[in-house]
Structures are given as C-alpha cells and as structure tokens.
Symmetry: C2
Subunit: 464 residues, 2 copies
C-alpha cells in the first residue's frame, strides 16, 4: 500500500463516513488512471472473451459459456459475493446459408452481402422471389398504394446522416427502417424486406440488429444489405425492374430459455444500503465477437470493482457490477434485475451503464431517477466532476442505458458513459466488431473514467 | 447560399466589422460541422498526398513533388493568393540496406528491426561491431566510467511511461534518449548507439526521429529498435554479453538545399492587417506516408480556408494557411516564415498549429504572444469558446506548435489543436503512419473544430 493511499484510508477511517478532501481524491484518481492505463486489464479480459469464447447471442450455447467464464473470473477477484441471476430469454437462431441474389435484365444476377435481422422469420427452403420497391422512409412506404407493395420486397435505403456530430443521433435518425420497417412492409402486403445497413462506412459488411415483430400479421423475412450493396441495388433499380431472390433459414423459437445476469458485489462499509451499480450487457449479436458491443462495457464494469479492490479502497456504499443478459433482443436481463431489486426494496444511488463502445471517453450523461431532481444532482456533482477535467471528462444532462432504464422508479441517478462515437457504427452489429478494432489504451481510459466516477459517487454522493 | 448564411452575411455587411450574434455564430458552426463531416474533404486530399506522393522528408525529391501538388491544389480553390516561400533545408538520406544483427553465445545471431535516426551518420561499408551496454537513462550513462563505454555500443532502453494520461507527456519523458542519447554516448567514447523506439505499442515497428549532432566530436551511427526487439535485446543481455553488428548507410550532406513553405491567403475585408494563421508541417519522416504526422495537420489547415470560402464567408481578418517545411529535422520553414513576417512587420492575431494527428479533437491549447496577457485572452475567448462545448472542444492553457513558435515575439496568441492522443505514438515516425490508420470522420472533426475556431477568432478577436 502506498503512503498516499495509507493516508487516505486513515482519513476515511478517522472520519467514519466523512468525505475525504478533494486534494486526496485528485491524488487517488491520478492513481486510478496510472494503474488502469499501465495494466490494461480490461483488454486482457476482453481478449479472452472475444478470442476464446466469441459472440454470444442470448439463448445461445456460447452465451452460457461466456456466463460461466465471467462467473469464474469474478470468483478469483476477491469480491464479497458473485452470483448468477436467472433470466428467461427469447431464442432466435440465424441458421446457415443466408443468400440474397439480385436479378435484373440489365446486369444479370449478383449475390449481395446480407444478414438477416434479429427475430426475422426464415423464407423456408424454397426461398422467396419478388420485385423490389425502394423507399427512403416509413412515411414514403405509408404513402404508397398497397397494390404497389403487395407481393413485393420492400427496400429501405435511407443512409445515416453523417453530417450530425454524434453518430448515435445519426443512428437514431435511421434506425426506424430496421426496427419498424419490416413490420410496416408486411402490413402493406410485402413478402420480404431488405434495409440499407445502419453503418457509418461505405463497405461490404452488413450490420444486423433487432427488428420488431407483429402479433397481428405474419412477419416477413427481413435482412440488412451492406452499404456498398444497398448502393449497388439502388443504382441498378434506376436502370429498370429488379428482383431479389432471398433464402434465410433463421428461426424464432416459441419457448424462452434459461439464461443469467452475472453480478459481483463489494459491500459498503458505512452505507451498505445505497448501491452504486456499474454494468454493461453481456449478450451480443451472432456475428463478430461483440467486442465493442458490449464486451467493452462489461470489461469496463468488472475493472471498476477490480481496480478499487486492488487499490485497497473500502467503499462506503455497496458497489455492484452487473453483466446484463439479452439487451440486444429483449432486455429481459435489465427487467429481471429491476424486478428482483424492487422486490428486495433496494435503492440504487446511481446506476451507470457502459454500452457505447470501448473508445476514448468524453463525458457521462446523467438522468434523474423518479424521486431525484436532476438540477440538484447535477449541481452537486458538478463540484466533484471538476476532478475529471484533467482527463477531458464532462458531465452532461441526458443519458443512461437500456439495461438500467427499468431501475428509474427507485434510483437516484442513471448515468451512461459516452465515448467518442466516431468509429462505433463502423463496427456495430457486424463481423467487424472484433478485438482488433478495440484499442487497449482507449478501452483502459474508459475503465479509468468509470472507476473514478464510482469512487467520486461513493465519496460525495448525489447531493440528497 | 442558404437563407441562414445570407442573413448572417447581411448582418456582417450591415455592421461592417461588428460582430455577429452568438446565436448566428452557433448556427454557422453547426453548418461548418455538417458540411465538413459530410464531405470528408481533408481525407480526400490526404488520400492523394499519401498514396500518390507518399512520405516527404525535407530535401527529398518527394517533398518537392508534394509542394508542387499542394500549390496546384490550392490554386484551384479560389483563394486570393497562393505562393511558395523559399527555405533552405538540411539534407539527410537514409540510404539502403540498414541492418542490425544481435550476436550472443547463448542464442546465436538474430537480425533486429531497426531504423537509423535522422541525422545519424553511416557506419561505412564495413559496418561496426561492438559489445552492448544497456542503460535506462542519460544519467545512468553519465554515471558509468568512460572505460565501461569506450568502444562499445550504448543501448537506451527506457520505455515510455504508459501510466501517464497524455501520451505526449510519456513521449516527452522518454525522448531525451533519442535526441541527446547518441551525442552523450559519443562523448563517453561509444562507437554506436541504439535506442528503444518511442512507441506506445509493443510491436515490430521501429520509430525513427531526429537526433542531435555535436559540432565538437565525431557523431556515431544511431538507430531505433522496435519495442519487441529492444525487449529481446534486453532479455538476451541478462544471459551474457551481446554484440551488435550494425550497417547503416545514412548520410548527412553538408550543403543545404532549396525547398519551400506553401502558403494560401484570403484577404480580410475590414481588418486585413490582422492575420489568423492555421498550419501544419508538410515534411515527414522517410518511412510510412506522413499521414498523421503531419499530412493531417496540413489537410486540416487547407480545409479551414476551403470550407469558409465554400460557405461564402467573407473574413474580417486575413486568413492564411501555411504548410511549413522541415519541422522534423531543422524547423527551417517555421523560422523562414517568421523572419519574412517580421521583415514585413506583420501582426498575427492568432497562429494555430495542427501537429498532433488526425484524431478526434479534444481541446485547443493556448499560449500568449510576447505582448499579450494570457489571462485576458483566455477570459475573453472562454466566452465564445462555449459555442464549441456541444462538440466537446475546450480551451486549455498551454500549447501552440513548433512551426509557429518563432512568431511569438509578434503574435497575439499561439494555439495548438489537441486531439485524442491515445493512438498517436503507435504510428508516429514509423511505417505505420499511413492513410489506413487515419479515420475519415476523426480527421473531419479536427478540420471542423479548426474552421470553427478560426471563424470565432475572426469574429470576436482575442480581447485586445
């Protein structure tokens, strides 16, 4: 134990719950950064997760392997307790040999790079074949007479708006094509749907993701095309009618299957009833390795508890790391965690999610729980957040995370790590979301920022 | 021209020099970002520079090709004037077939990956062969008796300290080994010198860079080893004596050669005598493509004038884009520019350099010119810099750039763009500094930040 840390611990022990000075806090944060950046621990874990296990769609065998590995790893880290929380999750499988072939008189037949969207039904062994109708938006499709869509394959082709500063805003502005487009196309009588991948690059990699299912109508096979092939299809359509031949053997099972959230905890010494949660989601799509989405967020979260424990820090509040299951296609993990927490009447002083990739952190977004004033919390926290200014980390209104959202009725604040978003949607939900696209130092900077925030919240609370 | 821009121009024209409202400025900056992120113009230029021309050490034929291309490109952009400013630059050449072979009884002979340092003399065709003495610092070498160094090859092996938040600080803490190590080794009687590459990664790529030459003693051949091979050499030394056999055919020419700074200008309408300069250095090391260092900074700078011109903006002050020659091994371009500027009694209200890579911008560093109060300038500027908060850009005390440094006696403020430094020293001065390691969107974000800053400085000045 360093002399500095010893002094700091004495301070804590002398003062009981009392807060340490901001000078001591600044020193402690410097140590957090120094150790986190030097050791690159999150990256070491992420290497094992991505290379020894790989992607882990909820309900898959691989997701259970990953859960087993996470529990076993946490068990070695000296936390007070580690447990699995059962969650029933939906079960969808892609199947093999997906194919989309574009056929036109002008240029013949071309295979397009495509991935079925999550929850999409299959085409059956005979596939489907129909003419393509291109639209740029749901409204444009709504405006078409049903006859123009009936029996066709609808092609949504609105690109993400790269002129927006945040790629998350660009994603938000285009994602309805994927989430609601296929259902609307089905309602209009289409027999299939393809969308331009939600990607920030023009390349050959299709990006999958969840599409919504209707309970009223038969859902239709739906797939994402690579941005290059979406452009190719659109250009070809300008020359004359185009048909697509689609085979996809994906399947949505009726039965939910058993899975788990993985949870680790360090009990608080003076305010154990106040929980500070840091987490990410452990499931990923079934292509790539789920490295940024959201292996990074989970490894971040595990490092927070690991780092504070390793530095000999004894928290006032209870610190909890949660790997949520099934964020991508159901959010069952987040809901199960909240249900269980409400049943135990737990109070989360802060719930923090990291689910925006392992890139250089820029800020924390913050929203208020049901009984908290955002202004009060931000005003109180902006005092101690100044300690993160040397690390270029700011506090910004708005934000949280999908998995922690259900905690809102009984949480102080909900927060989300906001890293640089420039590259996130180059990789998101595609075969490119692999370890090689995560930079160890950027990942470490995120872990250091989260660890520092958890330390500060544990010391100074949220001002009520 | 958009209605918004038209209104803004009317405002400017009605008010003469008067400043536009911050609301209008916020809109204009939003447009700057939108256009810059959408068009990715800097990346298009950088693609040509790196792939059609490549690296461009000052004094090389390639550097002259690059200058010709830059001038021709600027000539097409509709600026008020474009010119070449003659600069005499040193002339050093690497030669071919550099080799470093490690020989030890325990493990035989192994070729190590190495690059001669800039200005290093060659070994002659017979090469040199001597035992290796490893040290971690200049002080450690100073402490050794001359007899322990005489006739040997000194090996500096202190890694960059990755625990520091800024990799530039880590670089600063290790760079003396490269800049001054070989000269000190020569003074102590060594016949050669190798250093551990100044790199943030453990890999197989040596990183070159400038080493200082003594005028009093014979300089000795000096090279950088890849970090992997530096580790390998150090491990081997633990097992027993090691010799290195070194061949390098690099040559420092006595005669300086003619080169040029490339300059473009848009004349100010109401305060033409106040210059706002934005620039980078156009020379690079002779490996890789000088993509981040500093092709990015030059393309950034050219885009500032291009973008404002394209948006129909008529500046109050004179805007100047400067590609400086010879930053890497002499700084002759920066000095020649300042000499010429002083001779014409020019005043630079602000000189801004981008020479820290084409990564996501985080802040601008600022230093005061000789007759400016930094406090006054920062206090004035912090008002309008709030307009860059939505883009996660801050103003921070300290900074500028090597090429603009000589302007200090007659400048208002000197500023430097500070991008995320996580990856910069993975690539710096090595074969990895290529276009593929520049992300178009990150490069564009830097150009947008610089354009916005120049616009704000043109509108609101520096407060005196």
């Amino acid at each position: 134990m360093s002399l500095r840390l010893l002094l700091l611990c004495c301070l804590i022990s002398i003062q009981g719950y009392a807060q340490i000075s901001t000078d001591s806090a600044a020193f402690f944060i410097k140590d957090i950064y120094r150790q986190t950046l030097s050791e690159e621990k999150a990256y070491t874990w992420l290497t094992t997760l991505t290379k020894d296990i790989g992607n882990r769609l909820s309900g898959s065998e691989n997701s259970l392997k990953a859960i087993e590995w996470a529990k076993a790893t946490m068990d070695t880290l000296g936390f007070d307790s580690v447990w699995l929380q059962p969650v029933m999750v939906p079960h969808w499988e892609r199947g093999v040999n997906e194919q989309v072939v574009m056929v036109s008189k002008q240029i013949g037949a071309h295979q397009l790079k495509a991935l079925a969207l999550g929850q999409s039904p299959g085409t059956g062994p005979k596939g489907i074949r129909a003419e393509v109708v291109e639209v740029k938006s749901l409204d444009e499709l709504r405006g078409l007479p049903d006859i123009a869509v009936d029996g066709k394959i609808v092609f949504f082709n609105r690109p993400m708006d790269l002129g927006l500063t945040s790629t998350f805003s660009a994603y938000g502005g285009a994602a309805d094509q994927r989430t609601s487009g296929p259902m609307l196309a089905a309602e209009k009588g289409a027999i299939g749907c393809v969308i331009r991948s939600l990607s920030t690059r023009q390349d050959d990699y299709p990006h999958t993701g969840m599409t919504e299912l209707s309970k009223n109508i038969d859902n239709i096979p739906s797939l994402a095309l690579s941005t290059n092939d979406a452009t190719f299809l659109s250009e070809t359509l300008k020359k004359g009618p185009v048909e697509l031949v689609i085979y996809t053997h994906s399947k949505m099972y009726e039965e939910y299957v058993l899975s788990y959230n993985v949870i680790a905890e360090i009990k608080g010494s003076t305010r154990p009833e106040e929980i500070i949660l840091v987490g990410g989601h452990f499931d990923s799509w079934d292509v790539g390795e789920g490295a940024h989405d959201d292996g990074s967020g989970c490894m971040h979260s595990m490092e927070v508890l690991y780092r504070l424990k390793k530095m000999g820090y004894k928290p006032n509040r209870t610190l909890r790391c949660v790997f949520f299951m099934n964020e991508e296609n159901g959010l069952r993990g987040g809901r199960a965690y909240a249900d269980s927490s409400f049943a135990k009447n737990e109070y989360h002083l802060a719930a923090i999610e990291s689910d925006a990739g392992g890139f250089t952190p820029q800020s924390f977004g913050i929203s208020a729980g049901a009984n908290t004033s955002l202004d009060t919390a931000m005003s109180h926290m902006s005092g101690f957040m100044e300690l993160l200014e040397p690390y270029d980390i700011e506090l910004k209104a708005g934000g949280g995370g999908a998995d922690i959202g259900p905690l809102k009725p009984n949480a102080g604040v909900l927060m989300g790590l906001r890293p640089d978003s420039s590259r996130y949607f180059d990789f998101h939900h595609s075969a490119l979301d692999v370890l090689e696209n995560v930079h160890p130092r950027e990942l470490a900077a995120g872990a250091a920022a989260l660890t520092s925030l958890v330390f500060l919240l544990d010391q100074y609370g949220i001002g009520k």
